[in-house]
């Protein structure tokens, strides 16, 4: 009962925090950072469903992010599609392509998905660079319109901030409902033992495909939001380093923890802001985080935070108990 109240309050708290944050920011630059952080949060929640829960690695997630961003951009500019139609097409294409990747690579047990997605990421990167007449090539694709829904254009950063974080909250809620259902349990079962999961009636291949396509869909949502915010896309944003950054967010935040995905995404978005020094070797930092986390903190920041919380809580209780005892005497 008590925990239920706490949980509902946590939601309220999250809403309030998201709504109030822009009011207390020192300047608009941080709004941009938070918008980007929101996009990464969406990406990392989706990837955590796949990696943290189902235990399947994708090393090409930036490709799904980029595919939808380019699709909606190109359709809006080159083909003059309405923005909403381009967005739907972007989401559909990324999901469809992820399905086509999933079927051959997830048919097998083992690490084929990791390599398959890594290869796929490389292919997409090459195509974005080479198909110059369609994508604009290495210099990118410009002039993408701002997001507009039903005649309402979201042109200011503040408006866009609310759009992005509304999407974050919605996708977070859906993910949370997923992980606390039979499907969430089945995915975690697949993570430890596909054999036992299938012996209990879990159609492991179907579930793996489903969660892979779902996580690609999340990436695609982030992609279309990116395209209509920045209004410019270039291949560099969607290459291998981005895919690795996403994996690092999941690992650092904590596998199989949705709050961890949020923490990891925000932390790694803010880190370069605080630590300009790492600009040139950020990738080294990611490598170190990956190795050290997996070796010494497999639960990531989420587990660390949980432990710290529990410790301070028990400390607090002890103090309270001591005070009570003192009062009684």
């Amino acid at each position: 009962m008590k925990s239920q109240v706490l949980r509902n309050n946590a939601w309220l708290l999250a809403f309030a925090a998201v709504a109030a944050l822009p009011l207390v920011l020192p300047n608009d630059y941080y709004l941009t950072v938070l918008i980007v952080g929101g996009l990464y949060t969406i990406l990392s929640i989706g990837l955590n469903l796949l990696m943290g829960y189902a235990g399947q690695a994708s090393l090409g997630h930036a490709a799904f992010y980029g595919l939808s961003a380019y699709t909606t951009g190109i359709l809006a500019v080159t083909y003059q599609w309405p923005v909403w139609a381009g967005i739907l097409a972007g989401l559909a294409l990324s999901s469809l392509v992820s399905y086509l990747i999933a079927v051959p690579t997830l048919k097998l047990r083992g690490n084929y998905l990791a390599m398959g997605t890594l290869g796929f990421g490389v292919i997409v990167f090459i195509v974005l660079n080479e198909a110059t007449s369609v994508t604009g090539g290495p210099s990118g694709f410009t002039g993408i319109p701002k997001l507009s829904i039903g005649g309402k254009e979201f042109s200011s950063d503040l408006e866009y901030y609310y759009v992005v974080w509304a999407a974050v909250l919605l996708l977070f809620a859906l993910s949370r409902n997923l992980v606390r259902s039979r499907m969430g349990r089945a995915l975690r079962a697949i993570h430890t033992s596909e054999t036992a999961a299938s012996a209990l009636g879990v159609d492991t291949q179907r579930y793996k495909i489903f969660v892979f396509v779902l996580s690609a869909f999340y990436a695609a949502v982030a992609g279309v939001l990116y395209a209509h915010y920045v209004t410019f896309v270039s291949p560099g944003t969607f290459g291998f380093p981005t895919s690795i950054l996403l994996v690092t967010m999941v690992v650092l935040g904590g596998m199989a923890s949705l709050w961890g995905a949020v923490l990891g995404a925000l932390f790694l978005t803010l880190l370069p802001e605080w630590l300009r020094a790492i600009e040139h070797f950020d990738i080294l930092v990611y490598g170190a985080i990956l190795v050290l986390c997996m070796m010494f903190l497999p639960g990531g920041l989420a587990e660390g935070a949980q432990k710290a919380w529990d410790a301070s809580l028990s400390l607090f209780r002890k103090k309270g108990a001591a005070a009570e005892e003192g009062g009684g005497q």
Partner: protein
């Protein structure tokens, strides 16, 4: 219509590059079959082989005939270290954990190479002088002969090791059943260390022999590793020598693709083949039908 000599030219240069893919693939299979790990840092071993040789030569002033074996030896030591420091402490954890760790290691090696050697591309001098040899209208670089010769020697050496020495046979035993192997008194830890050493060794060999032909840079390992893995899929992950053939075949297909279709999409060829094979024939061209295990 392509001429026969152009075709031959593509095949020769493809097979040369493909030899390195094959050696990278051999490295993948050695670790996979002994430790059950796909080592995502395999491409970095290849990159380091070429880079270390270049820098021994340039900065250390070491003559080429010494720089090459020295580089290979250094990478072998790196391979052993990688296992000792990052893999052994987490033995028995989930495959995903191991994947992520080897990815982290690959990034660290790549980043380290970038910090030390910078972002430029480098070339190693050819192992011997002399102009290209004309073969049926195609040019055969003397370095290609070095590549073929050294690849063949390495593969034969490995074959001898696995089939005719006690240690080699023990490593194969680990591959079929690690638990049983350890019960039979085989020191599995040592075998895994050895597999990393071998895999780094063959990877580095692949790197140094190719460096005079294709140039090398700190980030060359990503693609080399991926193509090595694609070669494994082509030849069968359980079949080390099939993987080498797979690598050569992949190199040739890639070269033909670049020559006749588009050079910009050259790097995509390998992955399209890989995805296609995963779909149609996951056990590789030379593997038997894959037995499902529990």
């Amino acid at each position: 219509m392509p001429t026969a000599s152009a075709l031959l030219q593509y095949v020769i240069s493809g097979a040369t590059v493909g030899s390195t893919y094959g050696l990278a693939a051999l490295g993948f299979t050695v670790i996979y079959n002994t430790a059950g790990i796909i080592n995502f840092a395999q491409g970095e071993f290849v990159m380091l082989g070429g880079m270390l040789a270049v820098f021994a030569l340039r900065w250390g002033g070491v003559p080429l005939p010494l720089a090459v074996p020295l580089a290979v030896l250094a990478v072998t030591v790196v391979g052993i270290m990688v296992n000792r420091v990052t893999i052994r402490p987490v033995r028995g954890r989930s495959p995903l954990t191991l994947i992520i760790i080897t990815i982290g290691v690959s990034i660290l090696l790549r980043g380290g190479a970038m910090l030390i050697f910078g972002k430029d591309t480098f070339a190693l001098p050819a192992f011997s002088g002399g102009g290209p040899i004309q073969v049926g209208g195609a040019a055969l670089l003397p370095q290609s002969l070095w590549v073929f010769g050294i690849t063949l020697l390495t593969v034969l050496g490995m074959k001898f090791f696995f089939e005719h020495t006690l240690t080699g046979k023990a490593m194969l035993a680990c591959s079929s059943d690690r638990k049983a192997a350890s019960l039979m008194g085989i020191h599995v830890d040592f075998m895994v260390t050895l597999s990393f050493a071998f895999s780094a060794f063959v990877g580095a060999v692949g790197g140094v022999i190719l460096a005079p032909i294709t140039l090398t840079a700190y980030d060359a390992g990503i693609l080399l590793g991926l193509k090595g893995f694609a070669a494994c899929i082509l030849g069968g992950l359980g079949n080390p020598f099939g993987a080498v053939i797979g690598g050569i075949l992949l190199g040739i297909l890639e070269s033909l693709g670049a020559g006749f279709i588009s050079s910009g999409y050259k790097d995509a060829v390998a992955f399209i083949i890989m995805l296609g094979l995963l779909f149609w024939r996951p056990s590789g061209l030379f593997g038997g039908s894959q037995a499902e295990r529990v």
